[in-house]
Amino acid sequence: MSRAVVFGGAYAIAFFSFLFGPLIIMVITAFNSSKFPRIVPWDCFTTGWFAELFGNQRLMEGLLNSVIIGVGVVALAVPIGLAGALALSELPSKLRAMLYTVLILPILIPGVVLGISTIVLWGQISRGLGGAVQAGMYNGYFLTIVGQITFVSAYAMLVFIARLQRFDATQTEAALDLGATPGQAFRKILLPFMAPAIGSAAFITLLASFENYNTTVFTVLSESTFTTALASKVRHGTDPSLSALAVIIITITLVGALTNEAVQRRKEAELGGKASRSPLYANPLTRALTHPGVVFAILVAIVATVSYVGSKHDSSVCEAAILQDKLDRQAELRAAQKAKIEAQEVEQGITVPKPEGGFGGAFGGLGGAAPVAPAAPKPEGGFGGAFGGIAPPAPSE
């Protein structure tokens, strides 16, 4: 059996390396001054990409749009999801399976299809209505909210179904028996019971709305949300400010996950009656320290301190040195190339070096030459630079 344990452990480590490796590498690239996100070679430690990120007008506008849309989606998808879960709870089993299939379908339907069908339908409706209604209806905000609700509500519903399954129906009966109207029983018994689920459904729907690309990229029309702005930035050339964004999101996630863990642990200890016995909760100091609020505050304080220190970091001297180094190296290369070509011209007359050969030569030369900065800023730039070095003889063909 121990062989299985060793294998299992090794596999788990490999699996989680696959999950976290790309993220960790991305995080590291956020602090490298190289204009292309990479780890090796390392130029300078910098925090400049964060400033660059916040200076991105389009992303920041998208963020605001995403918040507006997210609030709208949460406000509608959570009640709709709750209604779906309640409806399923009262239907006879055959009809329930049918409705469940219909309601869960939007999660499975390609987001592209949802986006298209949304703009087609509402395009037709608003064209039919015309005028001010058309303007109010046929815009990126409205369409995106409507389009996202279609499937985001299903996420909310799944959360509510799970919670409802744990509801003891005699609670409602008890309330009715004690004189509550059905409405009062709903408001005073069922809804409070559902409250935590409402919270997590709101969170999940907000996240799903925020994250969504496939549907939104169609429905948002000429506006952009945070995610669509991000996507278009990634598609049109990347730089490490995106890595900086990843750092921010991962940090928020970790703080959230750790705080949540503290909440869960405490709740479990209290429910299990272990709280009074556990030494961790008996000691007033450790008890206070493990309080979710305190955990959260400490984490936020750490993040704030690190951010402040980081924002004071100045990498311009190092970057200038790197740049100078690069320029020197380029000049050196150019000179060497020139000398070589001149020598060749002298020897063989005019010959055109094959581009591939040029590439290989340029790279080979660089690779062997230095551990720092093999290429200029962007990959294309790098190639271009290499070409540039070889280019002069070409026109003489």
């Binding site: 005699t170 609670q171 009966e173 309330a175 028996d177 004189g179 509550a180 009062q184 409070p192």
Partner: protein
């Protein structure tokens, strides 16, 4: 009715008027017809699945009878929802609201009737005093012990002074000691508040000790209604005789009946006994003779017969003796007679007898299986 008549107590009776409840082809309750008197402690006793909970839900308004009527305080309850009936139900698992404090639980019936916060708090504290748990109003439900929860559930049910309190096996989740203690307490509370208690249980001990009257149910049918001692001593059907308390059943053929006494011929001999349920038998009819373990007396001359002692179980105050006569296993309960009271050892032959008045002849019918 004028409001200024505190002397005349309200009508807290429940009348089940030929009530039947069916689910599709299944009859859960078959023609229940009885009256529960105002202020009575009334129990429905029966094995699980006998229809007693269905009947209770019908009285509390969670379901309507398929046939017949339910009258509470002489008013027909047809179409009256559970929240509009003067009944309060204590659920089997109590159904206390875990998200509310103890005081909020107790005051919930007042809250939904629009009573102000101060009044609610006052009433909750009064009720907590009544159940002898003062000052726990701000605790969470999860912090209470089993017995405390029980009492809080009762206090909550009594908060708006219902006419009828329905209890659905509320003691079944408690351990034995607490259960016995709560029996006394329930009875005391009932006498204090004067509300009609309708109690559902499969535990005959609970039914017999607490109730004014008991209805024994089996398979949807009410077999017998009566005071506990009547149920125990004068069963009217073989089910009641076998379900309530321990009983020995001897199968035989009626030889002769005169008024309420009859002679039954069994493989062990012919015995004389009382005829149960006022029935008439022809000679030659098959019947069962029930005699309680404590009524079988060694050496008694009446209805005497021989048996072989198979084993004994000593249980302090009582000694349970098991014997075999012919192909019938018998159970005999003997009061511990001190060191002198030994009846013999395994394999010994013993002579047993019983008084005709303390045995009952009943028609062959359903025998409650051992729990």
């Amino acid at each position: 009715m004028p409001e200024t008549s505190p002397v005349s107590s309200p009508d807290r009776s429940v009348l089940l008027d030929h009530v039947s409840i069916r689910f599709g082809n299944f009859t859960a309750v078959d023609n229940a017809n009885l009256k529960i008197n105002s202020g009575e402690f009334f129990s429905f006793l029966g094995p699980s699945g006998c229809g007693k909970t269905t009947l209770l839900r019908c009285i509390s308004g969670f379901s309507e009878p398929t046939e017949g009527r339910v009258l509470i305080g002489a008013k027909d309850m047809k179409g009256v929802g559970p929240n509009k009936r003067p009944t309060a139900l204590i659920f089997q698992h109590l159904a206390l609201f875990p998200l509310m404090s103890v005081a909020d639980n107790i005051a919930f019936p007042l809250e939904v009737r629009g009573v102000g916060k101060k009044m609610r708090r006052k009433r909750a504290e009064d009720l907590l005093d009544m159940i002898a748990l003062p000052g726990i109003g701000d605790k969470k439900v999860s912090e209470l012990s089993g017995g405390q929860k029980q009492r809080v559930a009762i206090a909550r049910a009594l908060a708006v002074e219902p006419d009828i309190l329905l209890l659905d096996e509320p003691l079944s989740a408690l351990d034995l000691k607490l259960r016995q203690h709560m029996r006394t307490e329930l009875r005391a509370i009932q006498q204090q508040v004067g509300v009609t208690f309708i109690y559902i249980t499969h535990d005959q001990g609970e039914a017999l000790t607490m109730s004014d009257r008991v209805a024994v149910m089996s398979k949807g049918v009410i077999e017998q209604v009566g005071a506990p001692d009547q149920i125990y001593n004068r069963p009217r059907s073989s089910f009641v005789a076998s379900f309530v308390g321990e009983n020995n059943a001897l199968k035989g053929i009626v030889k002769v009946q005169s008024e309420d006494m009859a002679a039954l011929e069994t493989p062990m001999g012919t015995f004389e006994a009382r005829v149960g349920g006022g029935r008439k038998y022809k000679p030659g009819d098959e019947a069962l003779l029930f005699v309680r373990p404590e009524q079988l007396v060694p050496g008694k001359a009446e209805n005497a017969f021989q048996a072989t002692l198979s084993r004994q179980e000593f249980e302090g105050a009582t000694n349970h003796v098991f014997a075999r006569a012919g192909d019938t296993d018998l159970r005999i309960s003997m009061v511990n007679g001190g060191l002198a009271g030994s009846v013999g050892s395994t394999g010994d032959t013993m002579s047993l007898g019983f008084a005709p008045m303390n045995a009952t002849i009943l028609p062959v019918g359903q025998i409650a299986s051992e729990a």
